[in-house]
């Protein structure tokens, strides 16, 4: 099948996609790397000069960087724990016989299709508003004071919103994996007297490990760059309370016009993402061989 002619056509046909992707990623990335070594501010054009690693020194020693790195890790870590644990529980739930299961599954995965800006504003106003929000009313039913979510617990609020959005993703993937679990194996274990808990830990969970890895890696890639939810609700504040690395780079570039500093920040974000990406690509690459 793979004659020389067909190999050539194959190359010609796959070339356009590879070339445009290269132009889209590699060229701008190269420019970002170059900018990151320059003093380059859009407010003082024509003053660009090579300053070596000074931008990195400024960025990496900036207290804002540590704050945003901590926020990023906290956001990613919390959302991962919530969505993976929640995803396993909901996946197990939806794997059982339930009245109207198909419709129920649609309701559970719906949040994933909500655009981030809608998600953020609905949660911020309709649900979490300290005066007229649903949560404030529920708290008042129990005689509790209303929580001013975005003032007192801004990062927690963001974590809740983002978790709600990504929970369906975990559910969908883990449910798909659960449905491929061999029923015979479970039945055999049951015959041998294994209870539901030991079946979960010795059969179900090992079977899910691969799917869980995929969920963790893919979510991490996306969660490292959460932007819109922060942009429309807190604008990174109060102070730096909800500024993650992505948002910090955005403020430096498009609000302070510090191209050099923002580029250094962008490269730091790329390196962080790559640490995760290496594992993910290896895992998918292995899968491709089978």
């Amino acid at each position: 099948m793979s004659t020389r002619a067909s190999t050539l056509t194959g190359r010609i046909m796959s070339a356009p996609s590879i070339i445009v992707l290269f132009l889209w990623m590699a060229v701008p990335l190269g420019m970002t790397i170059y900018f990151s070594f320059l003093r380059y501010n859009l407010l003082s054009p024509g003053m660009e000069e090579w300053i070596g690693t000074l931008n990195y020194e400024f960025f990496l020693t900036d207290p804002a960087f540590f704050a945003s790195l901590a926020n990023t890790l906290l956001l990613v870590g919390s959302v991962l724990v919530i969505t993976v644990v929640g995803g396993i529980l909901l996946g197990l739930m939806l794997d059982q016989p339930i009245f109207g299961r198909g419709i129920l599954r649609l309701l559970v995965i719906a949040p994933f299709f909500i655009m981030p800006t809608v998600n953020a504003l609905v949660w911020k106003n309709l649900l979490m508003d300290p005066v007229s929000g649903m949560f404030a009313w529920i708290a008042s039913l129990f005689g509790l004071p209303a929580i001013d979510w975005f003032t007192n617990a801004p990062l927690t609020s963001i974590i809740i919103m983002v978790s709600w959005q990504w929970l369906p993703f975990a559910v969908l993937i883990l449910l798909t994996a659960l449905q491929s679990l061999d029923r015979d194996q479970k039945e055999a274990a049951q015959m041998d007297g294994a209870g539901p808990i030991s079946i979960f830990f010795y059969i179900t969970l090992p079977h899910l490990s691969r799917a869980i890895t995929v969920v963790v890696l893919i979510e991490t890639i996306f969660l490292l760059t959460v932007f819109a939810e922060i942009f429309v609700t807190t604008g990174g504040g109060p102070g730096l309370a909800t500024t993650n690395i992505a948002f910090l780079v955005y403020t430096q570039a498009l609000l302070q016009f510090d191209v050099g500093g923002a580029s250094a920040g962008g490269i730091v974000a790329v390196i962080l993402a790559n640490i995760v990406a290496i594992f993910l690509i290896r895992l998918i690459g292995k899968n491709l061989d089978n």
């Binding site: 099948m1 796959s14 590879i18 990335l29 299709f113 800006t117 798909t176 955005y250 962008g266």
Partner: protein, 276 residues
């Protein structure tokens, strides 16, 4: 787990599961409900669930005040446009990789994937500057290109996994019968690949429609889609909850419908075939 369930167990577990499901769905339900309230009732405490004057006023006003239709149109053009451009590139590329693989095909696929792992902030600055210098800021053309390139790796991957499932014998038979390459693609491959192509397109439309990093950073008004339109409601002076809800409901409704139809393909597209 697989035990024979008693009817009582079935009913009580179903009730429990539905309560959990409805709680997860509640924010969406509440948004839709609020969109039918007056502004006064939208912020009233205790909130009213059914006993309010149902009104369609918000939907009319969202259009009147802020020209909702323009933003919706932009969303449609960006989502469909980027999908169609992407399809031309992705079908040829995935076809070549699936049926004429070389030693480097796997590397090429993984490299494409790796571009998807790049955080957008890593290239925000140069892309923004290029867009500014080339007059592409706030243009539909510029944004279609960005969305197309952003989703191209996913499209190639999805189509590749679908094409891999097509038996090569059929293609060879067509070739034996003297079909030329274009004919082979149009008359043999495409009809078999239609379901895969359709779900790839749906997923791409969903992703492009909801994309909210580049659309927020590269548009201001002319090319702004619904993501940016909704974001404009975040300013404190614009706090009209009922209208926000109406605009939001309109913005998410079409994607919710498409998403519900393509939930199975979603797993394939977003995990790059790693979970089956």
């Amino acid at each position: 787990m697989e035990k024979k369930q008693t009817p009582l167990g079935y009913v009580s577990f179903s009730v429990f599961a539905w309560i959990v499901g409805l709680l997860i769905f509640f924010p969406i339900f509440w948004m839709v409900l609020t969109s039918f309230k007056s502004e006064l009732e939208a912020v009233s405490i205790p909130p009213s669930f059914i006993s309010f004057d149902w009104t369609l006023e918000n939907y009319a006003e969202v259009q009147e005040r802020s020209n909702y239709f323009k933003f919706a149109m932009n969303s449609v053009i960006l989502a469909v446009g980027s999908t169609l451009v992407g399809l031309v590139f992705a079908v040829t590329c995935a076809w070549a990789m699936a049926f004429n693989p070389t030693k480097r095909t796997k590397d090429a696929l993984l490299w494409m994937l790796s571009t998807k792992m790049m955080p957008p902030v890593g290239v925000l600055v140069p892309i923004y500057l290029m867009f500014r210098d080339w007059g592409l800021l706030d243009t539909r053309f510029g944004l279609i290109m960005v969305l197309f390139l952003m989703n191209l790796p996913i499209m190639v991957w999805m189509l590749y996994t679908y094409f891999k499932e097509i038996p090569t014998d059929i293609l060879e038979a067509a070739r034996m019968d003297g079909a030329t390459l274009p004919k082979e693609i149009i008359f043999v491959l495409l009809p078999m690949a239609v379901p895969g192509i359709a779900s790839t397109m749906l997923l791409n439309v969903i992703l492009a429609w909801n994309e909210a990093f580049w659309t927020l950073n590269l548009t201001t008004s002319d090319a702004a889609p619904l993501t940016a339109f909704i974001a404009s409601y975040s300013s404190p002076e614009g706090l009209f909850w009922a209208k926000l809800s109406a605009a939001s409901t309109l913005a998410v409704a079409p994607i919710l419908v498409i998403g519900w139809f393509s939930q199975k393909q979603l797993v394939r597209g977003l995990t790059f075939g790693a979970v089956k």
